[in-house]
């Protein structure tokens, strides 16, 4: 009964947040427009190198779409608590009898789900403009890959939301962390081409495994079971860390009486 109520709450907040993000010009830009521009850039770059044969176009479209998912997660979750403060709703939400961490889960999932719309837009862009073939080598595994990627990125988003709030200018951190994560998680550049010390960093980042799970199901040679499993493992780790962080942050804010202060 309790679990059903929590699930219903998360569901409602997720879709509420998706609708809110849809009304924001900034999020429409980073979710729908920026991935199309990066996909176009990627297509031209690979064409310039003579590498648009086979599944390269799909590789680029998925990577560019996932870059949009990361941007939406980063900005949507990084500023989540800060925006509640700004709007004056943080005190009400924290004081409500509903668990605040569930509210945050719904919010972060809203941002991630919204980000995944961008992948659909990028795929459509590739098909219409560049004649990209849409096919999946493991179509039955693909829904599971997408679910694993959403869950792991949502949990990472929650961790970002609870830790970025300690920094006064969360959006500035967003500006800083967009490109490095695009790079070290292998969204457009294979990890094998990067220095060896980058690999351990990429292993603890959910976008690496999320990308690998989705790519594995669409253009991979074998089902991406390891990547899917890693997504769920990392999701649990992120969630536990985010819970601890949230307790610490809220406790500190209550103690210092800074819950509503900018």
């Amino acid at each position: 009964m309790e679990a059903a109520r929590a699930a219903r709450q998360i569901w409602a907040i997720t879709w509420f947040n998706v609708r809110m993000l849809l009304a924001s010009e900034f999020f429409v830009l980073i979710t729908f427009i920026a991935p199309l521009i990066f996909a176009t850039l990627g297509f031209f770059l690979f064409r310039s190198g003579g590498g648009t044969a086979g599944q390269t176009l799909l590789y680029v479209a998925l990577g560019a779409g996932m870059m949009g998912v990361w941007s939406t997660t980063l900005f949507g979750c990084g500023g989540a608590i800060a925006w509640q403060r700004w709007e004056g709703t943080l005190e009400l939400l924290v004081c409500a009898p509903t668990r605040y961490d569930l509210i945050l889960v719904g919010q972060t999932f809203g941002a991630v789900v919204f980000g995944f719309y961008g992948i659909v837009a990028t795929l459509a862009w590739g098909v219409v403009l560049f004649g990209m073939p849409i096919e999946a080598t493991f179509p039955l595994v693909l829904p599971l890959s997408l679910l694993a990627a959403i869950v792991s990125l949502g949990a990472l988003g929650m961790l970002i939301a609870t830790s970025f709030v300690l920094y006064r200018h969360a959006n500035a951190l967003g500006n800083l962390l967009e490109y490095p994560i695009w790079l070290v998680t292998g969204m457009l550049v294979p990890l094998a081409t990067l220095p060896f010390w980058v690999r351990p960093i990429s292993w603890v980042l959910a976008p690496t495994w999320g990308m690998e799970a989705i790519r594995g199901a669409t253009i991979g040679a074998a089902p991406p079971l390891l990547a899917i499993a890693m997504c769920f493992v990392l999701a649990v780790v992120y969630y536990v860390a985010a819970r601890y962080m949230l307790v610490f942050v809220l406790d500190k804010a209550r103690r210092d009486a800074t819950l509503s202060l900018q």
Binding site: E25, F26, L29, I33, A34, I37, T40, L41, G42, F44, L45, F46, R47, S48, G49, G51, Y167, R168, H169, A172, L173, N175, L176, E178, Y179, P180, W182, L183, L188, V189, P190, T193, L194
Partner: protein, 278 residues
Amino acid sequence: MTAAVLPRASASPLTGLRTAWRIFWYGGLMSYGMLFNWARPSIYIPTLIGGPTFQLFFFAALGSYATNRSPAYFAIGNAVQVSVLAGVFGMTMAIANERWFGTLPAILATPANRAALFAGRFLPFVFNGLLVSIYALVLGIVFLGVRLQTSSLAVVGVALLTTVFSCTAIGALQGAISLRLRDGLFGANLIMMGILLFCGVNIPLSELPGWMQFVGQLLPFTHGLQAIRQAADGAGMGEVGGLILLELLVGIAYAVAAFALFQLLERSARRNATLDVR
């Protein structure tokens, strides 16, 4: 009944010039400090130092992997392109934030010379854009194999200054447009991405479809970047002077358009009493 007629204070042309200079210089500096949201270390460092650093490495890695070209090619393009962050975003904020911070009516109520007021805003952002680009170029030299011929360093400097100016000019136009928009930074983001895609930053202009090349020619940055690339390879002013001049003309055209739009919006706001409407 008679009314005393007060003699009109006559200002010599020299006094007018001095006042215009003060508005240009101090007004520009003050607008930078007060209206540019990023002018504090906690935002400046992640956004204008950290972001460009990673942008450089990202495109150097992606470009050299996808095309087999040298990372230096992408490093030069992106090192110059990151000045857009300071120029376009900065100028947009310096103009549009007058409205959001509630200072626009006060500014427009003054008899201050509009040209001096408007032009003064360019200076800090051109300087800032230069700083960001020079930092990124040094990064490219140290880590990504960028090599600049010492004989043409001055030419690279002139081309860079012109390019940053023209980017700031399109930022001014976006700022003027933003006086009527809910979110001015949306347009600034679009300009930044447009420059990344259309202006030869990562893909040589000749490899883009015809209509994209045409758009690239109309945007600032394209000719300036071509001049910088050629000068970096040792070309002198005689060879790239035409490109620099073209870039300067494009920049001036955007600056004039921005000023004209600013004047038009001022008149329209006065007529319709919408100066302070958000």
